[in-house]
Subunit: 205 residues, 4 copies
């Protein structure tokens, strides 16, 4: 049946990985559009093209797949951050340019932001999940915070609030704007973040 150009038969591991991947994608879409509580496992499985049983062969519960999404979410954000910040900028202008690049990635993908909101909401309700969430979120926040910290160091001025607070505020702004998005329509994604960032710099001078 298989010819020389035939699509290679997937190995067992590859096939399972594919199933997992498809389930994760389906879950992400449904959590974003219906919320964590509004997405049923039946829907996730069907949407991915599998039965409910396949879901339970790959994840132990609904929260388990959310945890997987959390991991990927933060991994992606870390990757983004390291890409943007990776050139070890030392000059003020470079640092600013990097932050601008980062701000434009934020909000770029509204779905990603909505998922972030679902993760936070679920963390508020499930202690077990909250613990996991906290770990990964704290790390992410301090990474952003250290860039902000570096920025004000270069400026030779004290930051108007702790770097962690400012990092959290920028994330908060991004999430809050995502929440308004489908509702309103007046937002060029990361622009407002830069407006605020420039304000902070101006007020530090």
């Amino acid at each position: 049946m298989s010819t020389t150009t035939a699509r290679r038969r997937l190995t067992r591991e590859e096939s399972q990985a594919q199933t997992r991947e498809r389930l994760i994608n389906a879950a992400q879409h449904l959590f974003v559009s219906n919320g964590y509580g509004g997405a049923s496992i039946r829907d996730i499985a069907n949407n991915a093209g599998y039965s409910q049983g396949a879901f339970y062969s790959n994840f132990s519960s609904k929260e388990d797949i959310l945890l997987e999404l959390l991991r990927r979410h933060m991994e992606a954000e870390a990757l983004q951050l390291s890409t943007v910040m990776g050139n070890n900028a030392q000059q003020l202008e470079q640092i600013l340019a990097e932050l601008e690049a980062w701000a434009s990635t934020l909000n770029q993908d509204a779905d990603w932001c909505m998922l972030s909101i679902e993760l936070q909401l679920h963390a508020k309700r499930s202690p077990t999940f909250a613990a996991e969430y906290q770990k990964v979120w704290g790390k992410h926040r301090s990474e952003i915070g250290s860039v902000i910290s570096l920025l004000f160091e270069k400026l030779g001025r004290p930051a108007p609030a702790s770097p962690d607070e400012l990092a959290a505020a920028f994330m908060a702004l991004s999430h809050g704007l995502a929440l308004q998005r489908t509702t309103d329509r007046l937002d060029p994604p990361g622009r407002l973040i830069m407006v605020f960032l420039r304000g902070l710099i101006a007020s530090a001078k």
Copy 2:
């Protein structure tokens, strides 16, 4: 038990108003702590001390009580705003003081903010609710926007973004921070908002 000042027997209207009030309070608490989808009518009614039927004597559906909460939410915000802004400030310092007062009311009540988030989430999912939400939210935003507008007028400088955008951004910031609250613990509510506001002013000079 009854004295000359005995608690007067409630009239029918009063009694019903009390029921309504208790149901609304219970709904608010549960929407905040479990989310709109996670709060069942059974829970709302029981929590208020009534049967499920009593709920349906007072509200036509789950969305109906959310709409009532929306109305109260915005009414309260409008009241807050009008109280704060009511002295018709003309001096720059007065306007700033007013905005500071307003910022400190924001985030004051984390529950109130979480309710706001639930309202926005539900608006994203229910078109009928979205229509109602949009009406009330647009009005609120432009009220805040006009104060911001006045501020930059007095400064004699252009605002770094449209007043509506800035108003939306401040609300977004407030919501995003509320989302982090139970998770983190590093937030003096409206302070960050003022930090950002002062930044805007500084960058306008």
Copy 3:
């Protein structure tokens, strides 16, 4: 306020009678279009322009109003029958003409027939109601039966089945056709009944 031509203020009795009447009418329409089980007391009361409480001031239960409808139903049928048969016909042709007149009244009002069906269905399910139903139905059937009986007497031939059976069969035919009515559309109401009646006569000769 009231002038000489003013609509006379209803006495208390009249007013109550009016309430009753309106409730009965509403119940009849709803039982016919939704079935006995499908018509709620709330709907009946609202449809009549009253509250649920008004219903219970006039009837002790849902079955109670059905019983009232049963009484009126049979009363109306008896009236119809006596009008049609009242001229004490002695001639064969007269008797036939009377039966024809009766047949055309049958099925004339499809609603009336559907109500009859609801009554029978409820009688099958509620023993207390069945007892009441039986009384009134037996009387009605034997009235029709006696006309049929007279007819065959005049013909000087034995009827092909007992008069009661034949009467029941004609009623059954009428009910069964009503059941098909909204479904199909090929029915000139009482015509088929006469076709069958003439058949009986022909086969008796």
Copy 4:
């Protein structure tokens, strides 16, 4: 307990078919004795020995199982008709004998007739169901109609009404009589139908 001829373990399909069958049987009994509206899914499932969820694994809704009953109902009637009419009768006496056989099957099973009535009632109230019902009922009626048609052809006389009308009338008679059944007790099932049929023949001569 298990012998060499032990009851074979059911395959998955067999097991599901059994579940379906039991649910269908339970539904039929309950629809007949309580009516469509009066039979709850809880009752159907419990009566069949399953949970409510099992019902929804096999049928998408209450109407869905009624549709299945409709299909089986008409299938059974078609089978009955084809059995009775299968010997390609050409002689008048043979055709009459066949019709007699058919009439005696009618009403034989009062439950079957009550189900027919429930189907018709539900068709009056649910447009979606009505469409399905119409299809199957029209076909059945014209099958019976064609036998009646053949009968009068052999007689060389015009039928006193269109074959379809007469077929519908005989079914109506059968249903109307079923409705009276538990109420009264004076009916030898299909006999009255034959009385009427012979009448039609007599009046055609």
